[in-house]
């Protein structure tokens, strides 16, 4: 066996051994989706997101569709500092014709969305705080967290 063949076989062997570690680092990603329905809700709702030290990137997408009432959404970091917020409110209320369960056909929809991409998020518990006031609608939350070796630049 030639010397070059031996070198080639050894190099291929090293690459095969290293492959799981290299590829494994790039594909570690956690996606969480949560849907919250509100029906004349006025109680504060808190959603905790635990961020370990090893996480290098986190993106949040919060969308609220409101048909009635008011809703404010806040994102707080582990120190309690506000990192993003929005409020939506409906001027009209859903009126139901007397004696029926049917909603009135003309109703208002207001929408708010926030996209937040955070590189090196602070370790600890991040909080999404929903403050509804007689709110009817839906809130959808999508969380995307990445382990080291992955990074997005759409900040």
């Amino acid at each position: 066996m030639k010397k070059t063949d031996v070198t080639l076989i050894v190099a291929i062997g090293i690459l095969i051994c290293q492959a799981p570690a290299i590829w494994g680092q790039d594909i570690t990603e956690f996606n969480t989706t949560r849907m919250i329905s509100l029906k004349a809700e006025s109680q504060e709702i808190k959603i905790n997101i635990n961020v370990p030290e090893s996480y290098k990137y986190m993106s949040l997408w919060i969308a609220a569709n409101l048909n009635e009432g008011d809703l404010s959404v806040e994102l707080l970091d582990p120190n309690g500092e506000k990192k993003g917020d929005f409020s939506v409110g409906c001027a009209l209320s859903i009126s139901r014709p007397a004696g029926t369960d049917q909603e009135n056909t003309s109703h208002e929809v207001v929408q708010g969305r926030i996209n937040k991409s955070i590189n090196n998020p602070l370790k600890g518990t991040w909080v999404i705080r929903l403050n509804p006031k007689k709110a009817t609608g839906q809130v959808q939350i999508e969380i995307d967290q990445h382990l080291p070796g992955t990074k997005k630049n759409d900040n």
Binding site: E53, K83, G84, D85, F86, S87, V88, G89, C90, A91, L92, E108, V109, V110, Q111, G112, R113, I114, N115, K116, S117, I118, N119, N120, P121, L122, K123, D154
Partner: protein, 349 residues
């Protein structure tokens, strides 16, 4: 005749040019934005933002105006209904299928832009990319470039990640706040100045920069806008009110203290000097007893019977809780009995 006609034409042209000038004075917001019409509805909405805290608030009743966007991406808002004072305006568009009252914050799909305008402002908005307002340029009214600068300064705070040490993060935050305060202090436009103050986080920085915020309040004391009222709500009472309450509470505590002292001292004085319990005649007898006079001498001195003297002495012993003349002398050493005025008069007689 021809000369007169020529003059009339000149005057008419002059009048028309004047009219054109007058029309150009009423404000307009024009835009030319490149949008993907398969994604976005070609309608722009205008919202007047009454306070900085409502910049991220959306509802249908906040929308003041709408304008169609033509196939070249152009739209126009006539803003002569705005007041003469500067207002914060939000222009937004909505995605197809989304309601008109729709706000997308963050990312390249951010669907709004803030501008500073009044009824006379001529403003132009342009973007170079398919994203509606991402990196859009605002021209025509100078406070908008300053408004953009404030956002650039304030956004620097958001770039801090967990990699920074706590000390470094605090130093950067402090430097950003200081820069914003400096910006606010030197800015000639009051709305932009107040925006810089709003972004400087006055609630957090007030305790360490009180003097600055009070001076700032004094400087803009004639500003009655909603933005100013919002700032006033964020910081504690003004110094004048603070001093007023300080003086008022000082007077209250002084009066309370004085009254308490008077009430407490009154019974205390009685308790400390039991001789005050004695009648006038008993005090005269007590004084003579302390001087070492016998019952007979006291009787002669006060021109009363010896039995009366004995009766007074028994009463004195009972009131002063003593059993002998020696104890009366000792008591007198502790409490010097004040000489009754009547006694002095009697001696002088």
């Amino acid at each position: 005749m021809q000369v007169t006609g020529f003059k009339a034409v000149i005057i008419a042209i002059a009048c028309l040019s004047q009219c054109r000038y007058s029309f150009s004075q009423s404000g307009q917001i024009t835009g030319e934005i490149q949008i993907d019409t398969s994604v976005w509805t070609p309608v722009a909405y205008l919202t007047i933002i009454p306070e900085f805290g409502k910049m991220n608030t959306m509802s249908n009743d906040m929308i003041a105006d709408r304008a169609n966007i033509d196939n070249r991406g152009r739209f126009l808002f006539d803003i002569k209904y705005l007041p003469n004072e500067d207002q914060l305006i939000r222009i937004h568009i909505s995605k197809k299928g989304d309601p008109a009252a729709s706000l997308i914050i963050g990312g390249k799909d951010e669907n709004f832009i803030f501008i500073v305008a009044n009824r006379n402002s001529l403003i132009r908005i342009e973007n170079q990319e398919q994203e509606p307002f991402y990196n859009a340029a605002v021209s025509g009214y100078y406070p908008n470039s300053e408004f953009k600068q404030i956002n650039e300064i304030a956004n620097y705070r958001d770039t801090l990640g967990s990699n920074e040490t706590t000390l470094k993060a605090e130093l950067i935050q402090s430097a950003v706040s200081e820069k914003l305060r400096f910006f606010a202090d030197t800015c000639s436009n009051s709305l932009v100045s107040l925006y810089a103050i709003y972004k400087s986080d006055p609630e957090k920085n007030f305790p360490i920069n009180q003097q600055f915020y009070y001076n700032y309040l004094a400087k803009l004391k004639n500003d009655k806008s909603g933005y100013m009222q919002e700032f006033k709500r964020k910081i504690p009472q003004s110094r004048n009110s603070f001093l007023y309450y300080l003086v008022l509470s000082g007077i209250f505590f002084f009066v309370t203290g004085y009254v308490t002292r008077v009430l407490l001292n009154k019974p205390e004085r009685k308790m400390q000097n039991p001789i005050h319990e004695l009648s006038l005649q008993e005090r005269k007898v007590f004084e003579l007893v302390v001087m070492g006079k016998s019952n007979k001498e006291i009787s002669e001195s006060l021109m009363i019977g010896v039995s009366t003297v004995k009766s007074h002495i028994n009463s004195i012993y009972s009131k002063l809780k003593i059993n002998s003349r020696k104890e009366a002398v000792n008591l007198e050493l502790f409490n010097k009995m004040p000489a009754p005025a009547e006694n002095t008069e009697m001696h002088s007689n």
